[in-house]
């Protein structure tokens, strides 16, 4: 058994898992506050990564400035998306809402392919060093940065929801929309804000992923890989999203390891999370931390 490889893969899994966790958090945020399952989450990553890339390459803006511009762009984009496309869908059946986000996903995926092409592009170099040595393992600085950013985002989420007025308003809306409305919280504003935050934070994850693997169409796969993570954690639990993300990240790398060492089935990395997803749905459909949906007549 190749212990070094195993260790390396688990580390990779944890790092990617943190990013799954971040994307999962955005997903849960949107679901909790607006009851919309966002199938276009992956396109937020894709769009954010491409926009940042365009800022850096076409306009030659330094990285951190470009990064901030991307954030601003994506925040506006998220809010506009909610205003134009998703607000008319309030009160429609689940299938319609799901289909709208799927439609958005198709549209933006094709749009980015049309504008930026299908070939993967790499970011201009941000870090000097090729790899950093930590505890005998070589880790790319971009990975390290992604880890730091992911943890920072998670702390940011915690502080935002715990200590800010808007965070409180969002939690109240998620808990009981009508009660929140009657207490003077603008539910419309909360909806728009949650989409804005989700778009911005997902775009951050997209930029970080883009720096590691290059920007390409495959980034939007994150939007689908996030489903096993959030279902495992429970669709409406932010903590669950992080735990689920880490688990799925490690799990797919472990599956890859066992497959390459013993089983030789192939393609396990991509497909294992979906088997896990089916198993969870079969035995524990509300996940580890999700609230059970009890229906009363």
């Amino acid at each position: 058994m190749n212990t070094d490889l195993l260790l390396q893969l688990i580390t990779n899994g944890l790092i990617v898992g943190l990013l799954y966790g971040v994307v999962g958090m955005c997903f849960v945020l949107v679901y909790k506050s607006t009851q919309i399952v966002n199938f276009a989450q992956g396109e937020f990553l894709l769009l954010g990564a491409w926009v940042c890339w365009a800022f850096l390459v076409y306009m030659q803006i330094p990285f951190f400035l470009g990064f901030i511009f991307t954030m601003i762009f994506m925040a506006i984009f998220g809010v506009l998306l909610q205003l134009i496309v998703l607000r008319p869908m309030i009160g429609e059946p689940i299938i319609s809402v799901i289909m709208v986000t799927i439609g958005l996903s198709i549209f933006f995926q094709a749009l980015t392919k049309w504008i930026f092409g299908v070939a993967p592009q790499s970011y201009p170099k941000v870090f000097e060093a090729d790899s950093v040595n930590i505890l005998g393992m070589s880790i790319e600085p971009a990975y390290l940065m992604s880890m730091v950013i992911a943890v920072l985002i998670m702390i940011g989420f915690y502080l935002f929801f715990k200590h800010s007025k808007h965070g409180l308003a969002m939690r109240a809306t998620a808990f009981d929309q009508q009660a929140a409305q009657s207490l003077g919280i603008s539910v419309k504003q909360v909806f728009a804000m949650s989409w804005g935050i989700a778009a911005t934070v997902s775009a951050t994850a997209g930029v970080v992923m883009g720096m590691v693997n290059g920007v390409s169409d495959s980034l939007s796969v994150m939007g689908i890989k996030v489903f096993p993570a959030v279902i495992l954690g429970g669709l409406d639990s932010i903590v669950g999203a992080i735990v689920g993300g880490l688990t799925i990240g490690v799990l797919e790398n472990l599956a890859e390891f066992f497959d390459s060492q013993f089983l030789h089935i192939g393609n396990m990395y991509d497909i294992a999370p979906f088997y896990v997803l089916l198993i969870i749905l079969w035995f524990k459909p509300y996940g580890l931390f999700g609230t059970k949906d009890i229906e009363r007549i």
């Binding site: 299938i95 995926q109 089935i265 979906f274 749905l281």
Partner: protein
Amino acid sequence: MSTSVTMRPCGDFRTSYKQDTTIFETKTIRWFAILAIAFACFAPFILDAYYLTLFIQVSYLGIAALGLNILVGFTGQISLGHGAFFGFGAFASAWLNTQFNIPVVFCIPLAGFLTMAVGMMFGMPAARIKGLYLAIATLAAQFIIEDFFGRAEWFSGGSAGSLAEPINIFGFTFDTDESFYYVALFALVFMFIWGCNLMRTRDGRAFVAVRDHYLSAEIMGVKLNKYRLLSFGISSFYAGIGGALYAHYLGYVSAEGFTIFMSIQFLAMVIIGGLGSIKGTLMGVVFMVLLPEAMEASVSLVKETSIGAHPMLVDGLAYIKEMAIGLVIILFLIFEPEGLAHRWNQIKNYWKSYPFAY
């Protein structure tokens, strides 16, 4: 009162359940339907081969889409894996034919039943979960089946794909567009009449009851699990038949076509046509088949002008088509969530009471 009148009376004068569930409301509609089918039988002598291929496309996609409408529109379950079931039917039919030498005519229904079994297997979570959880479960099914196509060489030929023989009855081979057109027409009419009749039976009404209010349905004695699973089965059966027709029409099945995008296109057909409307399904399919063609035509129209020659428009046509599909889904859901069938009824009602709405 006679069971069938020539014109529909203004207002609702139906007195029996039989009148309420009749397929053709008036004699006129029935004669028009028969006339349309009779006319369709002569189409290969009049129409171009291009239109025939479009029709054949409408037919196999339409059969599969009707299956999805039974599941989504009539039973209220959501499936994001219909494209994979369609593909499974295609591979299953080719596999049965080449492996066991079963004549293709029997392979197609057999492939339908095989797909039905697979669909019911993946539909089993529907007994426990519903709504978006079910959507996500079927999403997983889509990826797992797609992965299966890629790796199961004994079944699908792996990445090389598999060959499918053309349909052959009594020594006559349906291998041209003109001859296959009749197979497609027969299959389409047969499956649609079957679908219409299914919805008039106890099972069909149970589906609608499960969709409208599942708790009430359960209290009324409708077995929820049975009907959810049955709905999955029937929908996959339709998908399998559609897929098998597709396989034997093209003569070759490759694993790449049956992606999540195809599943989404099926859903788009059903939503654009109208959820819970059999007539609407056909409208939605026609719309979705014609949309790329219309895009192509409009791009070639502006080709001569200065905008049209722009490389982004010429090279990006495939992406523009995809974008159009996404955009059409969004616009329909925002502006006409009940689909083309609803709009059609509105137009009909407007003209029926023209010029005096009473």
